[in-house]
């Protein structure tokens, strides 16, 4: 463990965050984003990492509930409203060794809308957060703020269930985040005229998806750093609440469709069973991983966490 951390510190470039930032998004509400966030946090902490789990669902925060904990006394609203507050001031230790929680908004003050300075202060603090992993539990929908948090993450996770509306929302979120991402480079590399030119010939050039646009763009704009930055963008899919064998194939299908549509690498991190024990555990204010260590879900979540942690070892090694 210690060795891995040391290697990472050496390899970190100037422009990399201190921790690996894992964002958990999904577009649709109630599909299990908080359940996945809490489970990954617990497992990664269990593996010996220093983990900070942040509830960024400012409108209706409940990550603490998913973790089987009471709402922390201080949360993000304190950080946002009082400029002298540091992120460490609102970090709360949990019953899981190595895991701290930053709660969302437990007051009635409305802080779902952040001013630009508020937003950049929060993002910069997250970026410099001293931990091995920072887990961002995001809200449903495609609000600017949610997209910004998603895009700042080193690991971008999309949770969906096999239901068509959930898949549709997942795709909507992926498209929104992807276009927001491209917009940034549009500005940085002054691509607007190139893109505009390409789009006037959209039909002739056969540009029908982001994949086509990117390919054309790379032809026109030979910037290697642009290519590298865009190729670093990767979606990770988790298929939650699976009830049949057929659902598992769906995870691979979503991965494939995403790759062909966006022209970007996409990973299927795995599927998670639907299990009534999830909400039954929550009712007794305990996490499933504590209540049901022999369940299939436990194994699936553990494998998923290992896969995520393993990606890093590969990254460091290469």
């Amino acid at each position: 463990m210690v060795e891995i951390n040391n290697v990472r510190k050496i390899n970190r470039g100037i422009n990399r965050p201190k921790a690996r930032i894992i964002a958990v998004a999904g577009g649709k509400g109630g599909i299990g984003k908080s359940f996945v966030s809490s489970s990954l946090s617990i497992f990664l902490a269990n593996m010996g990492h220093k983990v900070v789990s942040i509830d960024l669902d400012l409108g209706c925060s409940n990550l603490h509930t998913s973790l089987g904990l009471a709402p922390p006394p201080k949360g993000l609203q304190d950080f946002i409203l009082k400029p002298e507050t540091k992120l460490t001031d609102i970090m709360h230790p949990t019953s899981f060794a190595g895991l701290s929680l930053i709660g969302g908004n437990n007051s009635i003050d409305d802080v779902t809308q952040l001013s630009i300075p508020q937003k950049s202060r929060l993002m910069s603090s997250i970026y410099h957060c001293d931990a091995d992993y920072v887990i961002l539990d995001l809200s449903a929908g495609t609000h600017e703020l949610t997209l910004d948090f998603f895009l700042m993450a080193t690991d971008k996770i999309i949770v969906t269930t096999p239901e068509p509306s959930s898949i549709e929302n997942a795709y909507r979120f992926m498209k929104a985040s992807f276009f927001k991402f491209i917009k940034r480079y549009e500005y940085q590399y002054q691509l607007s005229p190139v893109i505009a030119e390409l789009m006037t010939q959209q039909k002739q050039l056969g540009i029908r998806s982001p994949n086509d646009l990117l390919k054309r763009l790379f032809k026109e704009e030979e910037s290697i750093s642009l290519k590298q930055q865009i190729e670093r963008f990767k979606f990770n899919i988790i298929l939650n609440q699976c009830r049949s064998y057929k659902d598992i194939g769906l995870g691979h299908s979503i991965k494939s469709v995403s790759q062909k549509y966006f022209g970007l690498p996409t990973e299927f991190l795995g599927h998670l069973d639907y299990d009534n024990a999830v909400w039954q555990s929550l009712r007794s204010r305990k996490h499933l991983l504590v209540e049901h260590p022999h369940s299939q879900l436990y194994t699936q979540l553990m494998q998923m966490s290992r896969k995520l942690a393993h990606t890093e070892i590969r990254r460091v090694a290469s």
Binding site: P164, E168, Y171, D212, G249, S253, S256, V257, Q259, K260
Partner: protein, 217 residues
Amino acid sequence: MSYISNEQTYYELLEVSPDAPQDEIHRAYQRAKETYSPDSPALYTMFTREEALELSKLIEEAYHVLSNKSKRRDYDLQLVGHSKLSPEELSNDSQVLQDGHEPTPKPQSKLSNDVPDGHKKTRFGSYQVKPEMEDAIENTMEWDGSFLRKVRVYKNISLEQLSAETKISRTYLKAVEDNNFDKLPARVFVRGFVVQLAKALSLDENKVAKSYMNMVK
């Protein structure tokens, strides 16, 4: 015409690596078929029905080629020829190309039959017959790159035409003619290139390849 750029290889289409064994290709095909079947729930809002059908067709095409050993070998050879693949990436089957391996059939010439007197037809056009050259072609024992070039120029064929016909990149064709073996991929591929090149030049490909390969270490 297709939103899938023509640059996508069959391997990319099925999302397998070029050295994937047959069973993996089969699994990938089954999965892809399901994913792009018109009422797959994974397509919704991403690909239209027409696009899905188009993709399905391409997937069938990819599987048709990649599931057949010799078709796959030919296809691999083309990819290598076009520098879309390095020989090291290929499956073992393709790396041990056998002697006498036949590359893909070529399209028929669309040229008319009549050529001026003293001229001979090629699949690209025609050339004026010179007895001493015909003699040399008939009797030479040493088919090296410079002689191959001499024949090509004699027969009025450009590198571009040859490249279009053989599906081998000009860089590689030039390297063959320059006897520049450092620039060429592994032996087995060079043999494949020479065979195709000889055929396109209407030469006895076995004789030429055998002789040429003597020079390649």
